[in-house]
């Protein structure tokens, strides 16, 4: 019965596809199933009654013995795994291959000490499958990592390096085995790594590659761009990082930045240099212009000195004429012989007018003569001068005037143009001592760009006035200097050398240009180009010749402001003769008091230069209330009134000296308007 039971048990045990060994209470084998026979190559009969150590003499016995003894002694179950005991028993599969196995040792029976059961499980298949999977995975992983130029490191969740590819060892200067088990902090330091690591461990993705500072084994720094990701097997977290060596890129970038910085510095230095250069050029130019201006002024002063000889002589002659004539007039009046006094008065006036003309020329030269440009017809001006010109050039010289029809208007100072024409005619006469032909011509001219450039003008419409002689001509040298002040080819006493330079100044002021064409022996042509004026001809008499009607019945009031008593007296006299009511003021402030009262004032005649407020200031103050106040400025020179730009509507200018007739005409004209 017992034997039968034992047989039955053996049959059951033999049917189990696992190793079963039963030990008695002292550790001797009592059962050894078929699986064990096959795997160990030892029959049950051969091993029965032996201990395990006796059965497997070479077995690693320590752990097994203690497991058995603890099972027998305490009833505790033990497990011995292939993981920690890869070759516990020398077992083979039926095909003869090593058989991987786990072993459990458990006590048998309710009461411990009855014996124990050893159970062996074949885990070869599972282990092989795992190994196969791992190897396949490793093959893939290795294929990528082994040859990768980038450092590939895998860390566990504690930041311990678990995997490192050859590039990692190379780039950090470690042996690969040395890297495994090292903390990440050996290679990376600083906040960037801390932040990156934390982000990775938290499962956040790196949005962009992070630039990381690494430390080589030798302590030197190396730079990487890191991309990384977290992965998981079972519940374990790993982080695999791919680190791209960016040292070269950094160096290139640094070099690039350096050269960029250099370029920028150079550019900024250049800009600065340019700026200072421009400033220096501007400074130098300004200084040069100042110097030139000073030179011109000093030349003028010198010229005035030089002129003193000629002009003072002329002026003395003229004054002589005036004083002499007035002397005679006085004596005749005193003697009651006023019959032919007219002749002497006329003589004094003529001399005075000539003196006036002389000062005009001087003022024009010094550019202090106020220019009073008006729209005008050049042909008309020439026509009025024709008689004067013929007389000036004398009988030996023939004069022709070729005035083009429909000549455009120009805008300039009529007196100066007359002077210019007269000067040119006299020059021409002097260039033809043996007589010749003087041709004066006018035409409309449209200057194209090259033509304009030759004259230093803008292209456009101009009126051309030419004065051509058949005289000796000028050498290029003389032509070049012809416009220089005081340059003259005439003998001393015959000319001041100011003619052409004055013409040059006047034409330039009027927006035009003067051109000389001349050849020795082939005569000279002087061309004056004046810009076309697009507008109407002002109803203006160029030279007042007629007498003003002497009386007006209306009670117009004129305020005269003049600090020079004699002049004020004369002006008031003229006004009285014209029938106007004249009010007088000797300075600006008393004039202003009158102007700010309710007194009727139809015209203000004022000197520009006054002791306190100047004429202009008086007018400006007065016009705040009397907005339409008509004003006639009188001026000996008009430094403040360069050109006529300062004249507003209802304002006009009369230059001293002026004839009483001229003044009367201007006043009546203005009041009538």
């Amino acid at each position: 019965m017992v034997a039968r039971d034992t047989d039955r048990q053996d049959i059951v045990l033999d049917a189990i596809d696992a190793g079963v060994i039963v030990l008695d209470r002292v550790g001797r084998i009592v059962s050894w199933n078929a699986w064990m026979e096959s795997a160990s190559g030892r029959t049950a009969a051969a091993v029965r009654g032996k201990t395990l150590t006796e059965t497997f003499p070479g077995v690693e016995s320590g752990r097994l013995e203690s497991a058995v003894s603890i099972a027998l002694g305490s009833g505790a179950s033990s497990i011995l795994t292939h993981a920690l005991h890869p070759t516990l028993f020398p077992l083979r599969s039926r095909a003869g291959r090593p058989l991987l196995h786990d072993v459990t040792v458990t006590a048998i029976g309710h009461q411990t000490g009855a014996g124990c059961l050893i159970h062996l499980t074949d885990v070869s298949r599972a282990v092989r499958r795992e190994r196969f999977l791992r190897e396949r995975q490793n093959a893939r992983y290795d294929a990528v990592t082994e040859s990768a130029p980038d450092v590939i490191l895998t860390f566990d969740s504690e930041g311990i390096i678990q995997l490192a590819n050859p590039a990692a060892g190379l780039k950090f200067g470690y042996g690969m085995a040395d890297l495994i088990g090292q903390s990440a902090t050996v290679l990376f330091e600083g906040q960037v790594w801390k932040d990156t690591w934390q982000a990775l461990i938290d499962g956040r993705h790196l949005r962009q590659p992070v630039e990381l500072e690494g430390r080589r084994k030798d302590g030197s720094l190396t730079y990487f761009e890191v991309s990384a990701s977290r992965w998981q097997t079972d519940s374990r977290i790993f982080v695999t990082t791919i680190l791209r060596d960016i040292n070269e890129r950094r160096e290139i970038l640094a070099a690039l930045r350096h050269s960029e910085a250099q370029a920028r510095a150079a550019a900024s230095a250049l800009t600065e240099l340019n700026a200072t250069l421009e400033q220096r050029v501007a400074d130098r130019t300004a200084k040069l212009m100042e110097t030139e201006e000073a030179l011109r002024q000093s030349q003028k002063m010198e010229a005035i000195g030089q002129l003193t000889g000629g002009i003072a002589h002329d002026f003395n002659n003229l004054l002589q004429g005036i004083i002499g004539a007035l002397d005679i007039v006085e004596k005749r009046i005193r003697a009651g012989r006023i019959g032919d006094v007219d002749r002497f008065v006329q003589g004094a006036l003529t001399s005075a007018n000539r003196a006036s003309s002389l000062t005009h020329r001087l003022l024009a030269f010094s550019r202090r003569q106020p220019v009073d440009p008006r729209p005008m017809d050049v042909n008309l001006l020439i026509a009025t001068m024709e008689e004067l010109l013929r007389r000036s050039i004398g009988e030996k010289t023939r004069m022709t005037i070729a005035a083009a029809d429909d000549i455009w208007l120009v805008r300039c100072d009529a007196n100066q143009l007359e002077n210019a024409l007269l000067n040119l005619a006299i020059n021409a006469r002097d260039a033809m001592p043996g007589g010749g032909t003087l041709e004066i011509a006018t035409s409309n001219a449209v200057l194209d760009a090259p033509q304009a450039m030759a004259r230093n003008l803008k292209p456009g419409e101009y009126v051309r006035l030419t004065v051509k002689d058949s005289g000796v001509g000028m050498s290029p040298d003389v032509q070049a200097r012809a416009f220089d002040p005081f340059y003259t080819t005439k003998p001393i006493g015959q000319g001041t050398g100011l003619g052409l330079s004055m013409i040059y100044g006047f034409v330039g002021q009027s927006g035009g240009a003067v051109l000389i064409e001349s050849e020795i022996g082939a005569g000279t042509t002087i061309e004056i180009c004046l810009p076309r004026y697009r507008g109407d001809l002002a109803p203006q008499e160029n030279v007042p010749k007629e007498t003003v009607e002497s009386r007006t019945d209306r009670n117009e009031v004129v305020l005269v402001v003049e600090d020079e008593d004699v002049v004020r007296l004369l002006v008031v006299e003229v006004l009285n003769e014209l029938g106007y009511l004249a009010l007088e003021a000797a300075d600006g402030s008393s004039a202003l008091r009158i102007l700010q009262s309710s007194q009727r004032i139809d015209l203000l005649v004022t000197d520009i230069g006054l002791p306190d407020l100047n004429g202009r200031q008086v007018v400006d103050a007065a016009r705040t209330k009397r907005t339409d106040l008509k004003v006639l400025f009188m001026t000996g020179y008009a430094e403040n009134a360069a050109g006529s730009a300062f004249l507003e509507p209802g304002m006009e200018l009369i230059s001293k000296p002026f004839t009483m007739e001229h003044l009367a005409l201007k006043i009546s004209d203005m009041i009538a308007r």
Binding site: S74, A76, L84
Partner: protein, 211 residues
């Protein structure tokens, strides 16, 4: 929450228990050292008896809430569960410490489950069997099972021990191959087991004092 039951054991009994645990752990360390052929130091700074909820709380307060445990059931005069508990993050280190060498990480991961089970088995067996022997009692101890999760899971395993509200909480430090790993051994016992333990401890104290 039930209050802890330290009053069940008096101070003397607790001292005796601590001594037993120390002896058990020493045996476990010996067994482990034999296995890994390296010096293994297992030290026990502290033994406490706490309530189940308190045990859960203590473990939950650790840095890592994710834990791994090797679990074995013991049956005899005393019935309960024994758990060797580590933070999950340290378990690989424990395995590496036991296996030694420079195995690739995947291989260690593959071996982890079994190695952990066996290591825990050696420690728990060494400890429990030694204590049982010293208390002159037999304990039937099951095969190990590896658990992962939070502390509450470990102390709410089905079926619950009857009135098993008391945990003998053993703080251990495990040092091998220059690695230091802190962990716990927890023994969850029911009240009758605890009372038996008290009786057995009394016998042990008398025997020891008698010697």
């Amino acid at each position: 929450m039930t209050a802890p039951a330290p009053e069940i054991l008096n101070e003397l009994e607790l001292d005796a228990l601590t001594e037993l645990v120390n002896l058990g752990i020493s045996q476990a360390a010996n067994n482990l050292a034999k296995m890994v052929r390296e010096e293994v130091i297992l030290s026990v700074p502290k033994v406490t008896l706490v309530g189940r909820q308190e045990a859960i709380r203590i473990l939950a307060e650790r840095d890592s809430k994710s834990l791994v445990a090797v679990h074995q059931v013991f049956e005899g005069d005393i019935i309960g569960r024994a758990l060797l508990i580590f933070p999950e993050a340290r378990s690989l280190e424990l395995v590496k410490a036991v296996i030694g060498g420079n195995l690739p990480i995947e291989e260690i991961i593959e071996l982890e489950q079994e190695a952990l089970a066996e290591t825990g088995n050696v420690i728990l067996n060494g400890c429990l069997a030694t204590i049982a022997n010293l208390l002159k009692r037999k304990l039937k101890i099951s095969l190990p099972e590896v658990l992962r999760g939070e502390s509450s899971l470990f102390f709410n395993l089905q079926p619950p021990p009857e009135a098993g509200e008391t945990v003998m909480f053993i703080y251990i430090n495990f040092a091998v191959r220059e690695r230091n790993i802190d962990g716990y051994i927890a023994m969850l016992m029911d009240l009758p087991s605890l009372q038996t333990l008290k009786v057995l401890l009394g016998d042990f104290i008398r025997r020891t004092a008698g010697n």
